[in-house]
């Protein structure tokens, strides 16, 4: 049973931001996570601010260099949207893995990112895309990189009076291949890995790697990216396999219901290695002749 709450339904971002006062005021988008927390008494909300009436937050558009995704666009719309499939196939794939079809019908990209559950799918793919987010408050409107936005376990850079309005996602540069790999239990990924790679003259000349679910937040592995750039695939795979100490330092692994820290680190190194090869087969190997 849900405890009583007051429902506000603003029509504009400014009106919504003006309502975000007090700790017990929560933004209600899809509600896929929020309603569960309220039911189980893990969160108290005296007021819910429904942002689904704000038309601008429900748009997906291509501006010539970024796909602009409004924060209340649902996962199901993203996994099936022609613009997402065309420009961001890896995000479409990550979205298609979320929960189950009912969760994807109801849950929104903005809600997923703001909830910041470490065991989530979109953030890992968005880090490799070097996406940015726009957040708006009563008097502020700022843009942040995904890396700055994700702060920790269930924690983002959002201020109490701010809401996430849009995610801007540039496609991968031409000639890059990608892979999104995960293993899953109980609908949530145990570990996920996103990779984007380009091969030139038999060597990796562009690498982006991100890992989710292992520690408090999804992260890029930039030192490892730099270390394997310039190497042929086989050598890069060997370096990745030998990088468990670095990965452990970087990701701050925690034991949780989906796996021990050691297990998740092991799976990470296996998935990263696989992701390199798969990225090359999936568009990253320059075509000759």
């Amino acid at each position: 049973m849900l405890k009583p709450f007051r429902l506000l339904e603003p029509d504009t971002v400014a009106e919504a931001a003006a309502e975000l006062v007090g700790e017990e005021t929560k933004i209600y988008a899809g509600g896929a996570e929020l309603l569960l927390l309220l039911r189980h008494g893990l969160l108290d909300a005296a007021t819910l601010v429904n942002i689904k009436r704000i038309a601008s937050l429900n748009e997906v558009s291509w501006d010539g260099s970024n796909l602009r995704i409004g924060s209340t666009v649902t996962h199901h719309r993203l996994e099936t949207h022609p613009l997402v499939r065309e420009h961001l196939p890896m995000l479409a794939q990550a979205e298609s893995h979320i929960g189950n079809i009912r969760v994807r019908t109801q849950g929104t990209l903005g809600g997923n990112l703001c909830f910041a559950d470490p065991h989530a799918d979109p953030a890992t793919a968005l880090l490799v895309h070097e996406a940015t987010v726009t957040v708006a408050g009563k008097e502020t409107n700022r843009q942040l990189g995904m890396k700055e936005f994700l702060v920790g376990m269930y924690e983002t850079a959002l201020q109490p009076d701010e809401l996430l309005t849009q995610v801007q996602v540039p496609p991968l540069p031409a000639g890059w291949g990608h892979a999104y790999l995960r293993i899953e239990r109980f609908y949530r990924p145990t570990v996920n890995v996103a990779a984007a790679v380009r091969l030139s003259d038999g060597k990796l000349d562009g690498v982006r790697l991100a890992v989710g679910c292992v520690g408090p937040k999804a992260q890029r592995l930039q030192e490892l990216e730099a270390k394997i750039s310039g190497l042929p695939l086989e050598e890069a795979e060997r370096v990745v396999t030998e990088s468990k100490p670095y990965i452990t330092d970087e990701l701050h692994p925690v034991d949780d219901l989906l796996g021990s820290a050691d297990y998740k680190i092991h799976v990470t190194s296996v998935l990263l290695k696989k992701a390199l090869g798969q990225s090359l087969r999936n568009g990253g190997e320059a075509k000759h002749g």
Partner: protein, 168 residues
């Protein structure tokens, strides 16, 4: 056991109007009321089942528009001005939906508790993709748990319903 939950103490009610299985319902609902309780206790349709209340099991699946949702975790006011279909809305008069006939023929059920949700999830799939492959069925239906383990018969039932629909 499914007793009517004690009357919600609400701070706020909303006037809504929606269509449930082709019948219009208009009235006030508390903002806190979930669609499952609305269907079972206001409309009197008890085919939709309560189970995990966590968006995991799928027993409470209904369609809003043509999309499957967990009615246990979906606020009733969100269905304002929309079409809701429950398992009671599948048959046309005495004529069962091809999915229902196929579930009966294949015994796609044992205890039957998850069946209304399985049927509604399958209906949502066929509205979305009228000719799914076995793999697409498995992927879509993975959100509906059957503790009796009738999955092979459920998948077979959906495949047969697809075939039946394709018959001239």
């Amino acid at each position: 056991m499914d007793e009517k939950p004690e009357e919600l103490k609400t701070l706020q009610s909303i006037e809504i109007s929606l269509t449930v299985n082709e019948k219009t319902w208009s009235g006030e609902v508390p903002v806190e009321e979930v669609l499952l309780d609305f269907l079972r206790y206001r409309v009197g349709l008890t085919g939709t089942k309560r189970s995990c209340e966590s968006q995991v099991c799928g027993a409470c699946t209904v369609l809003v528009g043509n999309q499957p949702i967990s009615s246990c975790s979906y606020l009733a006011f969100e269905a304002n001005n929309r079409l809701v279909t429950t398992v009671e809305g599948l048959a046309v008069g005495e004529q069962l939906d091809p999915l229902q006939s196929a579930f009966i023929r294949n015994v796609g059920t044992q205890c039957g508790y998850c069946t209304p949700g399985q049927l509604m999830a399958a209906k949502g799939l066929l509205l979305h993709n009228p000719t799914p492959t076995y793999e697409q069925i498995a992927e879509w239906m993975k959100g509906n748990i059957c503790r009796c383990g009738c999955y092979p018969a459920i998948a077979q039932s959906i495949l047969e319903a697809v075939e039946e629909r394709q018959k001239p």
